[in-house]
Amino acid sequence: MTGHERAGAFAAALPGASLTSSFGQLTVDVPADAWLDALRRARDDFRLGYFDWLSAYEDTDSVLVVVCHLVALEPVEHLLVRTRVDSEPPSLPSAVSVFRGADWHEREAAEMFGLTFTGHPAPGPLLLPAGFEGHPLRKGFVLAARVARPWPGAKEPGESGSAVRRRRALPPGVPAPGRWGPADPDGGQP
């Protein structure tokens, strides 16, 4: 059974699942309510017993997508299992009961994207300090360093650092001065 045949059989065995191939990488998309069942069947029925990693990303339509990389060993075959988390607030059953190693991966995905993995044995932040607000890998998260540092592209052609400019170009994705962060004690206006 080749990797493609295995992935095809896996996708066919799950209702609502679909197989795509992109640059040699096989991906099976499963519905969110079949997530745990899909991982369990991948491990038990399709020899995809090696859990490599689990992570998430925010799709262009602001929906969170959770991806899990599973490997069949000897011979090595890779498969990505992917699901879109449509629920609001976003939550997905924890895969720790299937793959023990998913524990830290889920904690990291949870703190970075604001996901909840229901049934996780030890939820809580993994990398971020206690009391950290926000979810750094969401597209709407403002990078404080970008607000604090002057943008090199703000200068117009023919300008130096000290030039007085009439209209300031603003970097993409960074709020205008005074629109974000703690209020300026001087009132923000010169």
């Binding site: 592209g153 200068k155 300008e159 130096s160 650092g161 170009a169 970097p171």
Partner: protein
Amino acid sequence: MTVPSPPPAGSRGAIALLAESCTSCMLCARECPDWCIEIDSHTENEPAAGRRPRTRHVLDRFAIDYALCMYCGICIDVCPFDALSWSPELVDPAAGVAGLILERDQLGAFVTGS
């Protein structure tokens, strides 16, 4: 330092600057996702006999902070005058982060094969 020849397929060296081709248009500095390009320039009046006087931008400073650069090559892609290009040379290690800010002359030394 140079990549062993031939360099591995798809590998990237440093970003070289041909300052004579640069018009200080700021496109690379604005497109850079890492904000690692700093450009200073000023405007000079060109002497014009019998024509409308013209101004042109003169490059004063062009620096790439290789501590921030992730070698994405977007600056090379957007440069309308091909002043920026890939070089097979590598950026030398430095004793501190400040030593990785390479100025115009150092970036010019990366230009090869002219």
